[in-house]
């Protein structure tokens, strides 16, 4: 692409810059333009991504592609652009303000090592909004919002990107003659790069703190925040790593539906609403899937809702299954026809439902769960003698088999077929063993 390079990447027709006299922003833009020139890039190979603050005005001064977005979010847009089109060189121009509000994006882009190039225009305060303090404002500095001096520890932007794994990290000033070279190195690095460029806000920070170039350099020394390249790693960029993921994934087959052909028939005449209530770890939802799938294999229509606490491995686990000769419209259950309760957690969770049940409903109830307050028929959940050994690990599958026998909604064979068709072979084998107790 070298043949496309320009003498300058600045849109000269849009000059002069809208920056204050003495502001360093223009210097950094010139350094970027010179760097693009020495890299020999064509203007359409480069996207400059800016956001809010004075630096956000920069996009119109470039003849390259440009994107101007929301405060502190430039890195996210840039990363999205680069992910989709890795051939583009993506340069983020952002201020210290943007690095504050978008700090989360900055450190995560460094972690991700996404191949974008961040130039921080770090002038220690918010210029555009009137000189308020930012995350990099030095201790004791006077700003519009720290009239008696800032009390906050300043954020080390380069250091933050460095410790979070960013591939190429440097610190510089707007006055450095070698800035175009450092920018070139950063842009040629495969991975995240950031140059924390210190500079002067002549409208606010300089006059309020008597902070000129000399003072800035001695502040840099005093903070022991050296300029130059701070980190260069060989860690692969997100773009490189993801290519490998795509390569591996391309071997896998795409997602497809779990199609169940009607193999059995059913005489069910009206919908039946079943609630299975147990505890986490009892595979209640899996048993609900078996019942719903067996019904589906029998030409019925089903819905299976699941309810469990956000802490998946403790507390209740409830499956609500509607089985119907017609497609299910309303899939909720407030008054079940059938409830099967196998653990105290489930009993407590569905007490509202069991309480609502009338004598037309039936509750199948495990031993040892105490009294239950309901007008429904309450019957013991009885398993064949031979099933005792499966009680601890497979009580939900036992319950599914029990209900299949007891309610006669579909042939028992359908339950077995459901296990074969929807479950992994190993699990299906266990469940088929469980179902055998009922034959």
């Amino acid at each position: 692409m070298g043949d496309k390079k320009l003498d300058t990447y600045i849109a000269e027709g849009n000059l002069p810059y809208a920056f204050c006299p003495g502001c360093s922003h223009g210097k950094i833009l010139e350094a970027l333009s010179n760097s693009l020139k020495q890299q020999g890039l064509g203007p359409s190979e480069v996207v400059i991504v800016t956001d809010i603050g004075c630096v956000g005005l920069s996009d119109k001064y470039f003849v390259t592609h440009a994107f101007h977005g929301l405060h502190g979010r430039a890195i996210t847009y840039a990363s999205g652009i680069k992910m989709q089109n890795p051939d583009l060189k993506v340069v983020v121009l952002i201020g210290d303000g943007g690095c504050g509000i978008g700090g989360h994006h900055l450190l995560n882009a460094a972690r991700l090592n996404t191949d974008v190039n961040v130039l921080v225009f770090n002038n220690f305060n918010f210029g555009m909004t009137g000189g308020q303090h930012s995350v990099t404002t030095p201790l004791d500095s006077i700003t519009a919002t720290t009239a008696l001096g800032s009390t906050d520890a300043p954020m080390d932007i380069a250091g933050t990107a460095q410790v979070n794994g960013g591939g190429f990290i440097a610190r510089a000033t707007a006055f450095d003659k070698d800035l175009p070279d450092i920018i070139e190195k950063a842009m040629k690095h495969d991975g995240f790069s950031l140059i924390d460029i210190w500079e002067l806000c002549t409208a606010y920070f300089v006059p309020r703190n008597d902070f000129g170039k000399k003072e800035m350099m001695s502040y840099m020394d005093g903070m022991q925040m050296a300029s130059g390249i701070l980190q260069e790693t060989n860690r692969p960029s997100f773009q490189t790593s993801y290519k490998n993921i795509q390569k591996q994934a391309s071997q896998q087959s795409p997602m497809s539906g779990l199609i169940l052909d009607t193999k059995f028939s059913s005489n069910l005449e009206k919908p039946i609403r079943i609630v299975l209530a147990g505890a986490a770890g009892q595979k209640v939802v899996s048993a609900g899937n078996l019942l719903a799938s067996a019904a589906t294999l029998s030409g019925l229509w089903t819905s299976r809702r699941a309810d469990f606490p956000i802490t998946i491995q403790t507390g209740f686990s409830v499956a609500e299954i509607v089985i119907s000769p017609e497609p299910v419209d309303y899939s909720g259950i407030v008054k079940p026809d059938i409830a099967a309760i196998i653990a105290p957690e489930g009993k407590a969770k569905i007490s509202r439902l069991t309480h609502a049940m009338k004598s037309t409903g039936t509750i199948y109830y495990s031993d040892g769960l105490g009294e239950i307050d309901s007008e429904a028929n309450i019957l013991p959940l009885l398993f064949p003698e031979s099933a005792k050994r499966d009680l601890r690990k497979n009580i939900s599958a036992l319950t599914a088999a029990f209900l299949a026998k007891e309610l006669n909604m579909f042939p028992f064979e359908a339950l077995k077929e459901a296990a074969r068709q929807i479950q992994k072979p190993k699990i299906a084998e266990i469940n088929l063993g469980v179902f055998a107790h009922f034959e």
């Binding site: 849009n14 359409s44 190979e45 005005l57 996009d59 119109k60 592609h65 440009a66 994107f67 101007h68 977005g69 979010r73 996210t76 847009y77 990363s79 999205g80 652009i81 680069k82 992910m83 989709q84 089109n85 051939d87 583009l88 989360h104 994006h105 995560n108 993801y242 993921i245 795509q246 591996q248 994934a249 391309s250 896998q252 795409p254 997602m255 539906g257 779990l258 199609i259 169940l260 052909d261 009607t262 028939s265 899937n289 799938s293 030409g299 019925l300 229509w301 089903t302 819905s303 299976r304 809702r305 699941a306 956000i310 497609p327 299910v328 419209d329 309303y330 899939s331 909720g332 407030v334």
Partner: protein, 365 residues
């Protein structure tokens, strides 16, 4: 009917498949129940087809990544729930202003705030409409079941592309997380909906390309070159175009299912998961010989005013079941004559509205 092929599927899988079928090749999102199933499917599936699935560090970053990828030519998709939609707000405005096509699936859960994690609700209907600065029109589609989730997702991609704007697919916990038997025929065949015409109504988005023309895009008020302007005439023209590209195409955007019965003077209006309870109630009412009309709204925004007004002819009472405090009822209210009685059936307690509540309202109980 018994010999039809059935598929066991949940809404998350249906939505993901709809997106993939529509040509989605970029997804960025952040985990949140009940939308996480969509995230998992997309992050697993996209690399298989050479696309990119990315989990952002938060919702702001996720939508930012989607916008960036779209500007570089990707067909993008994301999904979240109410708390994530709150964080999408600012970039939603950017996408409107930059005319970025993005499909956003919102799987609603009960709020406010983190609310009841995780129970169904329809509390974000007005939030989707008015969820960013400026009050510009939004396109929001809402499926009532799993096969519609699939087909409306595909439709959302077409609309986003045609109107160059974010499009919401508004579903809920129950539609996304409930597994159902769905007829394979219904998954494979689009319902009898009017086709979306080809062509672009919004500003054509020409992505950044290494060998393409130079583009400047901005989220600020801009001139044709994509540069910030404060010229009132230019700003007025831009903002009017952003509004009118949607508001002058209401007929094309309107999508409803009307089930009218001659002589009925009650019209039920619902959407999403509540429309299924409405359908059950309508069947019960008709089974005992009473008359009732109903309509399911698929295109929640812009409001399908013409279709609603058509169905209001001869209607003396409108019943609107919805899992919020009456967010759509207030829209119907604008459209009815003063002598029409309006009845809201509202639940915000984690429980789906039951058909009995709706028949109860019909019989004035």
């Amino acid at each position: 009917m018994n010999n039809q092929q059935r598929e066991m599927v949940d809404g998350a899988a249906a939505i993901a498949r709809g997106a993939l079928n529509a040509g989605c090749n970029y997804y960025a999102g952040y985990p949140i129940t009940p939308a996480s199933g969509i995230l998992s499917h997309m992050l697993r599936e996209l690399p298989k087809i050479g696309g990119i699935g990315f989990q952002g560090e938060d919702e702001i970053s996720s939508l930012g990544h989607c916008i960036g990828a779209a500007m570089a030519g990707a067909t993008v998709f994301t999904a979240t729930s109410g708390p994530g939609l709150s964080l999408y707000s600012e970039n939603l405005g950017l996408a409107i202003m930059m005319e970025v096509p993005i499909v956003i699936a919102i799987s609603q859960r009960l709020g406010p705030s983190t609310g009841a994690a995780t129970a169904s609700a329809q509390g974000d209907i007005q939030f989707m409409r008015w969820g960013t600065t400026g009050g510009y029109p939004m396109i929001v589609l809402s499926p009532t079941n799993i096969s519609e989730s699939y087909h409306l997702t595909k439709r959302a991609f077409k609309l986003a592309e045609r109107f160059r704007t974010p499009v919401f697919l508004a579903s809920d916990k129950d539609t996304v997380m409930t597994t159902e038997s769905v007829s394979v025929h219904d998954m494979e065949h689009t319902p009898d909906w009017p086709e979306i015409p080809n062509g672009v109504i919004g500003k054509k988005l020409d992505p950044y390309r290494v060998d393409g023309p130079i583009h400047h895009y901005t989220g600020s008020s801009h001139n044709d070159e994509g540069h910030i302007t404060k010229d009132p005439d230019i700003i007025a023209t831009l903002n009017e175009r952003l509004r009118m590209k949607i508001e002058s195409n209401l007929d094309e955007l309107s999508l409803v299912k009307s089930d009218l019965e001659a002589g009925a003077d009650t019209l039920m209006v619902s959407y999403g998961v509540s429309a299924r309870s409405m359908e059950a109630a309508v069947n019960e009412i008709r089974n005992v010989g009473n008359k009732v009309s109903s309509m399911t709204i698929y295109s929640l925004w812009p409001i399908p005013e013409k279709a609603i007004k058509n169905n209001l002819k001869g209607i003396k009472r409108v019943i609107v079941p919805e899992m919020n405090h009456g967010q759509y009822l207030r829209e119907i209210e604008r459209l009815v004559d003063r002598n029409v009685e309006l009845v809201g059936i509202n639940r915000v307690d984690t429980i789906l509205i039951t058909p009995e509540e709706i028949t109860g309202a019909y019989y004035g109980r």
